[in-house]
């Protein structure tokens, strides 16, 4: 049997370079996400204008404050897989994460630092799907999003993130 608890931790950092495909924010819980050409990330706080900016706290989960949820990412490849495997059309504005990236192995990045354009992020935990997103989209996506619902991050170095920016290991 595979001993997953005591599996050796590889010192090899996977080699990859990804790209920012979409950027979204919304100022309050339930409101549609709006596509943006660029976002302003503030170190230790969040995204200008977004509901989870620390000090603003108007998100659906703001009653459960979380320092490591300043910006959230989602894999473009998951949208493709939802269509391919479940025939579900989920648009980038519907998953409700802020940054949709392509070519970035998000699930491998927990505990690591990486560059999102000129900003430096630290991945704190994997996002968990919620029924709230099914309520908003009216689509049965809870189960298909388990284990690929995105990544929560803390902002270590702020700055401007634009669509087309590179994403790479720190």
């Amino acid at each position: 049997m595979l001993d997953t608890l005591n599996a050796p931790v590889s010192a090899v950092i996977p080699s990859w370079t990804g790209v920012v495909r979409h950027l979204h924010i919304t100022p309050r819980a339930f409101l549609p996400m709006r596509e943006m050409p660029e976002l302003q990330l503030v170190a230790g706080k969040g995204i200008e204008g977004d509901r989870y900016m620390i000090g603003r706290e108007e998100g659906f989960y703001s009653h459960r404050p979380e320092d490591g949820r300043q910006v959230t990412l989602f894999e473009y490849e998951t949208l493709v897989a939802l269509k391919r495997d479940h025939n579900i059309d989920l648009a980038p504005e519907e998953h409700r994460r802020n940054v949709t990236v392509a070519g970035v192995p998000l699930t491998h990045l927990v505990g690591r630092q990486f560059w999102l354009g000129e900003t430096l992020l630290e991945a704190t935990r994997l996002s968990i799907p919620c029924r709230h997103i099914e309520e908003i989209t009216g689509k049965a996506i809870f189960d298909p999003l388990i284990n690929r619902s995105g990544l929560n991050c803390r902002i270590l170095k702020g700055g401007t993130v634009r669509v087309g920016d590179a994403v790479r290991n720190a």
């Binding site: 919304t26 100022p27 309050r28 819980a29 339930f30 409101l31 549609p32 709006r34 706290e57 108007e58 998100g59 659906f60 703001s62 009653h63 459960r64 309520e135 908003i136």
Partner: protein
Amino acid sequence: MKPAITTIKTVVDKIDSGGAGIKVFTLVDPDRWELPPFRPGAHIDLHLPGSMVRTYSLCNDPADNRRYIVAVKREIAGRGGSAKLHDEIEVGDTIGVSLPRGGLDLADDVARFAFVAGGIGVTPFLSVAAHLTRVGRPKFTLHMIARGAPPLADLLEPFMKSGHLVVHDTSVSGRPNVAQLIGRPLSDVALGCCGPESMIDHFEQASRDWPAHRVHIERFVPPALPADANAKPYVLVLARSKIEIPVDPGQTMLSVLTDAGVDIPASCCGGICGSCKVDWLEGDPIHRDRVLSPAERARSLMVCVAGSADDRLVLDL
């Protein structure tokens, strides 16, 4: 800890008179952000001061995504929600609203629609008419039955001009024959009706030979549920809270949950509005709502009307 945000925050941008004791409220996001989308014919709950929750149809075109417009008639013998809106709510006030729910099935294979509305019951068809006009499906007729000049003149004006609106003034010609308005069943025609119960009764009678999926009825008030003479007591188990609550015959799940301090958003309390949906995990629920599909019932129930055939029902609460 801050309380959870459970409603969409809106502010009252405008209050217009709709005539005949009706006020038209325009709700917007505080920053004029886009609001969650809605289907033609959908409705929202307004969460009013004093824990009052009231459901109203959205009157604007669903493509008009920065406003929710609701028309509220002051009901003197009502439960107090419309009076509160008329007497206490002012421009600039904040109102929490639910996500939009419901709406009409405007299937592509429908060539023509006939809507029958009584007075303020025209509201769900305003968003439908605006939508159909915008998407180039102009074959619809909106029959409006009213005593005297119809209310909501501003909202009705485009459909008056386009010839889609047919007003039946009962003070002049008496009540129209609903059966004549809708005609005989045709496979590519769909019907809709909203108005007082007596009118809906006539409509149900007149449309009884139509296929059910082509007939949409929107009610102001939930229909009275007949008392279940065979109802037995059961125990409600809340899986996550680890609470067990006995439910006596005649009690609703919603009332015992509320008494136990469980905060369930509820509005119509009659199984038509869809507010109080809760997932169930084990047992054999009796569904008495008119809102959940068979697929949804496999997972959820409406606690305002549902019962239990088993002596134990486990909810995901």
